[in-house]
């Protein structure tokens, strides 16, 4: 921990040094931010590896890791480009509708705490396929879950690489593809080289880096702005037409459900819970994670609101996500503004690195286990494949809003893996056939809705239908149901799972009672000395 903060301080010194010798153009600040965060990440990772070698193995050491450090690591891996840049962008673009995204991202961890945290820890599973396959004693379920995890992971990496493209092109003036390629190469190499992942220190460091990177600029901007007369700008910045009363209730509720339930099925979330010594600690860690996330999201929300007041010109779909990067330079003059801008660049770049590498490791683990029998070489090849496929996708498609496309991934996860996990933890009647049918239904329904929704509304990647007021118009309702599908795809998936489990002819595993007992029974207390 002290290593991490020491390195952070060194990084700050390095940034100051780099800028004092350069000609202090914003581009050099941008390069400095990106290079420093990358080097620091690699260094902290290398140090932590040495640390864990000289002390004890990671999984043993994890039992001495305090819950708040563990929670920091969870937050570090979870907070992605969508959180650091996308939230402010959506608030700028959509107004009050965008305020629902940070609420959903943070509250997803409440659902995780309520429904799966302790049981999943007690299951001993490292990945979602591990859990579902063992819970239902079925290889088909395991394989189907693996395929879903891979698809979800790829689609979740895509917005990270898009965020990298945006950040790098703004910060350095390089063409957008350079940022995507840079993050993909760094992540692919780091993961394939066998480092970075499973290292609590690195991800914990990333959380505090990201928190600083949004909190400091937000606070400084508030102080600077506090002395200004808002006047007419404030009146037009928060129009009633985009206010809390103007949001489409269906689309909002559907989005909230997707974000709330999507979190607990994300591929890179589950593995973090194995670093808790027991189920009770898993709950405490999740509670602290909720507090950390709430603290974090206050600041992107603030930046988004400041953006509405002071950067209305950025409120177009192509530019909104850049508001967090550009606003400090506009509001704070001189060197301080440049430094704050570089800090946000560093935080955003850290977000791409940490979330992508967490995802790539989860994916590579699943792929290599399914295809290559879990060998190290298989893992490396799989890691490269896991980065290459999303990179190709990014280079081929038009970027959509970051938080919006991440919202769609949440909807897909919430319709496929989340019902299976929740039912698997709580319902003894679940069968392998029911699980397969439910996953297939949720996946198809969600994919069709998203596909049609994108076709109907060209260029709109967001899950919120901003232009559709609550009209008794069939077309408007259909469009809303396609653009924000979670509200009907999740119940559909659950219904199919339950019906097929009941009447599909299969039966629950013979040892289902023992499995559920393993999931829910508290660990034996430390035996009393006799």
């Amino acid at each position: 921990m002290s290593d991490a903060s020491a390195l952070g301080a060194l990084g700050a010194l390095g940034a100051a040094a780099a800028t004092s010798v350069s000609d202090a153009t914003p581009a050099s600040f941008g390069y400095a931010g990106i290079i420093i965060v990358t080097l620091t990440t690699v260094l902290v990772g290398a140090l932590a590896v040495r640390l864990s070698r000289t002390t004890r193995d990671f999984y043993v050491a994890s039992r001495t890791v305090p819950p708040w450090l563990n929670a920091s690591a969870i937050g570090g891996e979870y907070l992605s480009a969508a959180s650091v840049l996308g939230v402010a962008g959506l608030i700028l673009l959509q107004g009050a509708g965008g305020l629902w995204f940070p609420i959903g991202y943070a509250a997803g961890y409440l659902m995780l705490l309520l429904f799966v945290a302790a049981p999943l820890r007690r299951s001993g599973a490292y990945t979602v396929p591990d859990f579902t396959g063992a819970r239902l004693r079925s290889r088909s379920v395991r394989r189907a879950t693996s395929v879903l995890v891979i698809v979800i992971g790829w689609f979740y990496i895509v917005p990270q690489l898009q965020g990298a493209a945006l950040t790098v092109s703004i910060a350095t003036g390089l063409p957008p593809w350079a940022g995507s390629v840079a993050v993909a190469v760094i992540v692919g190499v780091i993961v394939a080289a066998g480092g970075m992942r499973s290292i609590t220190f690195v991800q914990a460091f990333q959380f505090w880096l990201k928190l600083t990177a949004v909190a400091l600029p937000a606070i400084v901007m508030l102080v600077v702005v506090g002395g200004r007369d808002l006047g007419a700008a404030a009146a037009t910045a928060f129009p009633a037409a985009l206010g809390p009363a103007a949001v489409n209730p269906y689309a909002t509720a559907s989005l909230a459900i997707a974000l709330l339930l999507g979190t607990l099925g994300l591929p890179h979330v589950l593995v973090r819970f194995t670093t808790n010594p027991d189920g009770v600690a898993a709950r405490r860690t999740t509670l602290i994670t909720v507090v950390l996330l709430v603290t974090f999201y206050v600041f992107p929300t603030t930046i988004g609101m400041l953006g509405r007041a002071f950067a209305p010109d950025l409120a177009t779909p192509g530019t909104a996500d850049s508001v967090a990067l550009l606003l400090p330079g506009r509001l704070v003059d001189g060197l301080a503004g440049d430094l704050l801008g570089a800090l946000i660049v560093a935080g955003a770049f850290g977000a791409f690195l940490s979330t992508s590498s967490g995802l790539v490791v989860s994916l590579a683990g699943v792929i290599s286990q399914e295809v290559a029998g879990g060998t190290v070489r298989g893992f490396r090849v799989a890691a490269l494949a896991s980065t290459l496929v999303p990179l190709l996708v990014v280079l081929m498609i038009e970027p959509a809003g970051l938080a919006g496309s991440v919202g769609l991934v949440f909807a897909f996860t919430a319709s496929t893996l989340s019902p299976l996990l929740v039912l698997g933890v709580w319902w003894r009647g679940l069968t392998a056939r029911g699980a397969l049918a439910g996953m297939l239904t949720g996946a198809i329904a969600c994919a069709v809705a998203v596909g049609l929704g994108v076709l109907r509304v060209p260029g709109a990647g967001g899950a919120l239908v901003d232009a559709a007021p609550l009209a008794a118009d069939w077309a408007a309702w259909l469009q809303a149901a396609l653009a924000a599908p979670a509200a009907w795809t999740i119940p559909l998936a659950v219904l199919v799972t339950v019906l097929v489990s009941r009447y599909g002819g299969g039966s629950p595993p013979v040892d289902v009672d023992r499995i559920l007992a393993r999931l829910h029974l508290p660990e034996r207390r430390r035996p009393k000395p006799q």
Binding site: A107, S140, F238, G365, L521, E523, R524
Partner: protein, 152 residues
């Protein structure tokens, strides 16, 4: 298609006596480095000696206890989830009140501020409540299970 269940590692069902020794491993002064490898299929959820309070197949009295623990935990989860949904709905309703959107603080309509920050206090409060309630349910289970053991 669902009949390809991996034959679940069937452990000796009635071997409760095996647990105490392994639950309390003699800790060596310096544990050897354990290489962490990909978990093998079927490894999770395999019955483990260091795991739950009771190994093996639960006897009928225990089975009732376990079922009631799961029910009370599910009740905690559902009540808390509904509570949070109600809090969210309340925040959305209050934020949409016209009166609050005519008032401004530092130029920002109060309704916007309510929606931006109002959901977080109930979120943290309910999360804390849920942890307390779930831990209490486990304590109750422990007390009942220990009493049963003493009776036996």
């Amino acid at each position: 298609m669902s009949d390809d269940r991996a034959s679940g590692a069937a452990p000796a069902p009635g071997a409760p006596g095996a647990t105490p020794a392994s639950a309390n491993p003699a800790t060596p002064p310096r544990p050897a480095r354990v290489r962490v490898t990909a978990p093998r299929a079927g490894e999770p959820l395999a019955p483990s000696a260091a795991g739950p309070l009771t190994g093996g197949t639960p006897a009928s009295a225990e089975r009732v206890l376990v079922a009631s623990l799961i029910r009370s935990q599910l009740r905690v989860a559902i009540v808390c989830a509904l509570g949070f949904a109600a809090a969210l709905a309340a925040v959305a309703f209050v934020a949409a009140l016209p009166a609050l959107n005519d008032e401004t603080i530092a130029g920002v309509p109060v309704g916007w501020l309510v929606l931006a920050f109002g959901a977080y206090p109930p979120l943290v409060a309910i999360a804390a409540l849920a942890v307390t309630a779930a831990n209490r349910a486990e304590d109750q289970y422990r007390a009942l299970a220990e009493r049963d053991e003493d009776d036996a």
